[in-house]
């Protein structure tokens, strides 16, 4: 009898442990939009298409190189895959006011938010900027990358195209 109970508990547990874990989604954190409004990051969506979430700052030169380089090809990316780039600035009060003028001044067409208390950065365990996350159509984080070197945007875009075509990403 005891053995039976033990056996059934073991099956239950192993079943629980080996069942597929859900993938990570955007945490629920409030960030500020370019108009000063509050947006919860768990509500980020792109109608079932891939999303790029990129952490940057006005004082981070590789971040700006990355986002400026992507800006040159962003129209093509959107047209070909429907991807949306969400740029999260971690600038604090010293520079937060310069974010919107910089974004507009550079003509970026991204969705931009400010995470000045770094709540989202902490929740996503980001060490340094730039840091990029790629989300699939279900809003699950399927890929991430720290730092930026010239040409990294091509690797990112390969991953975006694979996602848009419904393929699984090898991490």
């Amino acid at each position: 009898m005891k053995k039976l109970i033990l056996l059934s508990i073991l099956t239950t547990l192993s079943f629980t442990i080996f069942s597929q874990q859900e993938k990570r989604a955007m945490p629920s954190v409030n960030v500020t939009d370019m108009e000063g409004g509050t947006v919860n990051t768990s509500e980020f969506n792109n109608d079932g298409k891939p999303m790029i979430v990129n952490f940057w700052a006005t004082w981070c030169s590789p971040c700006k190189r990355e986002l400026n380089n992507i800006a040159d090809v962003y129209d093509d990316w959107v047209e070909e895959t429907g991807v949306k780039l969400i740029a999260i600035s971690i600038d604090d009060a010293r520079n937060a006011g310069k974010v919107a003028p910089y974004v507009n001044g550079k003509g970026w067409e991204y969705e931009v938010y400010i995470d000045s208390n770094q709540d989202l950065k902490r929740a996503l365990n980001v060490n340094n900027v730039p840091h990029t996350f790629l989300l699939n159509g279900k809003g699950e984080i399927v890929w991430q990358h720290n730092s930026y070197q010239e040409g990294d945007e091509d690797t990112l875009y390969e991953a975006v195209k694979a996602l848009a075509a419904g393929k699984e990403l090898k991490h």
């Binding site: 003028p101 001044g105 980001v126």
Partner: protein, 565 residues
């Protein structure tokens, strides 16, 4: 026997059923739960280096700072901790970071728009003029997190309230003072809804109050045990233009920072921004008087700061601009102004060229505030120290800088960023030096940053920087060459050289013309990053190898690893 068999069958069925139900619920709970984290480590092998005053290497050859965060989330519940290790702390770090410990741990949940956090947390009210806790352990060893309780409550659309109570982190201990505070924010358009919701004019109002308690154990003074500070703020936006203002007031708060005077403190921040596609303009002003605010009145250095007074200057990342003469806010009194213009010359225009040209101009100027001393007895518990008006600009200049940055793409392969800066730096005030021996530094700085993309994966980036001044250590030059092989590898060499230094040793040699050479190489894969370096490196923000981070001074062999999952 048959009956027994039936009973057994029933029990088994019941067990399987109940276990399945249990499994279902365990499944639900466990499968929604996730653990994520990140890790960072800096290790240095030190060399004796008398040239840069690093002759006092520690007794140990190798020092290491490291940490790892682990956060468990499950639905609306979240808990985590940060394990920190200083074996022993790197040179340049506060010595109180010693050994291993849990520097941060918390648990929180959200229910019906209310989030309760217990343990450590980071929070700020408004622009931070009276309250802001944050962490920059990696390069600076700075962490003034709260330990206590916090409530963030969205009462209804457009109305947010925060309440905090706790003490602040002081290395592996807690500061003496207890902080209690509330903040309310009203987004007028969302709150009243209706036609206001889609109005082109948006208004946000906010107010905060914070109070610290610290017992008076002074035999010399009669000190206030409860020190309150409050602030009010607004953000008004109409189409493409926005105004952001905050005013803060603190009652008398005698402290080591202000020489134990009983004067009140004030601060304000005002900013207006206008932007449209291809054009952005920001104008800001900030004044603060006697606004040093710590949860221990005897604290110094970077310890136990309650508030944040942003420096109204451009935050530089090029080596000579960022590490030699960086401005630091003077909490006891300053008046600062800043303007920044971002403009994009259109593609295919005469000046814009084929790809367009980016222009950024930033000007900042900072002065003392005018004040009149009020003489009183040394130990008098009513002495005000001085009188002033926060809006009155004094005649001592602390800092002044104009810089222009031009971003130009020449072809698909070649891009450049050209920066020129002209600055005045009051080293006596900002670095606490003797004004008779250390006059203001007038410096011209130029940076040429070129990136050549060899092909899809390979690129070379160079920085050539020069700093020209007749004061302080005279001329400097920096050369950086970085080669990257996307998406995994980079190597970089850099030399920062004080070639113009005129100091001589007893034999008449220019013994302070020092090279800060630094070679580094790195490997990145996904969210893991490894970097080794060798040489000398000054402390400050460094953007090498595709990331920006604040680094401690280095001398010898360094290894840095960061990772997140």
């Amino acid at each position: 026997m048959r009956l027994k068999g039936f009973r057994l069958l029933t029990i088994i069925t019941a067990l399987v059923l109940s276990n399945n139900l249990l499994a279902q619920s365990i499944d639900d709970v466990l499968n929604r739960g996730q653990v994520h984290g990140n890790f960072g480590m800096d290790m240095q092998y030190y060399q004796v280096d008398s040239l840069i005053g690093a002759s006092e290497t520690p007794d140990e050859d190798v020092l290491m700072n490291g940490f790892a965060n682990f956060i468990y989330t499950n639905g609306s519940f979240s808990a985590g901790f940060r394990y920190e290790s200083y074996m022993n702390a790197l040179q340049g770090f506060p010595a109180q970071y010693k050994g291993n410990g849990i520097g941060y741990r918390f648990a929180s949940y959200t229910n019906d728009d209310m989030t309760v956090t217990v343990g450590n947390y980071y929070e700020q009210f408004g622009n931070g003029l009276i309250f802001r806790t944050y962490e920059a352990l990696g390069g600076l060893g700075y962490d003034n997190s709260m330990d206590g309780m916090r409530i963030n409550y969205k009462l209804r659309d457009g109305l947010f309230v925060k309440g905090i109570i706790g003490t602040q982190r002081l290395y592996f201990e807690q500061g003496d003072g207890v902080l209690r505070g509330v903040d309310g924010e009203l987004m007028v358009n969302d709150f009243f809804g209706g036609s206001l919701k889609n109005s082109k004019t948006k208004l946000t109002l906010g107010a905060s109050f914070i109070s610290k308690y610290q017992a008076d154990q002074s035999s010399q003074y009669n000190l206030p045990e409860n020190v309150g500070a409050y602030s009010g703020r607004f953000l008004l936006r109409h189409r493409k233009i926005s105004f952001n203002g905050e005013y803060a007031y603190k009652i008398n708060d005698p402290s080591a920072d202000n020489g134990f005077i009983y004067k009140e403190g004030t601060a304000f921040y005002a900013e207006t921004a206008y932007s449209t596609k291809g054009f952005g303009l920001t104008l800001s002003a900030k004044g603060n008087d006697n606004m040093s605010f710590r949860s221990d009145r005897a604290a110094g250095q970077q310890d136990l700061l309650i508030n944040y007074l942003p420096a109204l200057t451009r935050q530089h990342t090029y080596n000579l601009l960022a590490t030699l003469y960086p401005y630091a806010t003077q909490p006891n009194g300053e008046m600062a102004f800043q303007g920044e213009l971002v403009y994009k010359l259109k593609k295919k225009s005469f000046l814009g060229g084929k790809y367009g040209t980016g222009i950024l101009v930033n000007y900042s100027t900072i002065y003392n505030i005018d004040s009149t001393a009020v003489p009183t007895a040394e130990n008098d518990s009513t002495r005000m120290g001085y009188t002033t008006n926060i809006f009155s600009v004094g005649d001592e200049r602390y800092y002044d800088e104009i810089n222009v940055e031009i971003t130009k793409k020449f072809s698909k392969k070649l891009k450049g960023i050209f920066t020129y800066s002209n600055m005045v730096f009051n080293q006596a005030v900002i670095q606490g030096k003797n004004p008779k021996k250390y006059p203001d530094v007038y410096a011209d700085i130029a940076v040429i940053d070129l990136t050549y993309k060899i092909n899809k994966k390979n690129a070379i980036r160079t920085e050539i920087q020069g700093l020209f001044t007749q004061q302080d250590q005279q001329e400097w030059a920096t050369i950086l060459i970085e080669y990257s092989f996307s998406p995994h590898w980079f190597v970089a060499i850099m030399d920062q050289y004080n070639y113009g230094n005129t100091n001589k040793d007893v034999d008449g040699n220019f013994n302070e013309r020092i090279h800060y050479y630094f070679a580094s190489a790195g490997y990145v894969r996904g969210a893991n990053r490894f970097q080794v370096g060798y040489g000398r490196q000054r402390a400050g923000i460094f953007c090498i190898g595709g990331i920006c981070r604040t680094v401690p001074a280095a001398n010898g062999l360094t290894l840095s690893i960061t990772s997140s999952f």
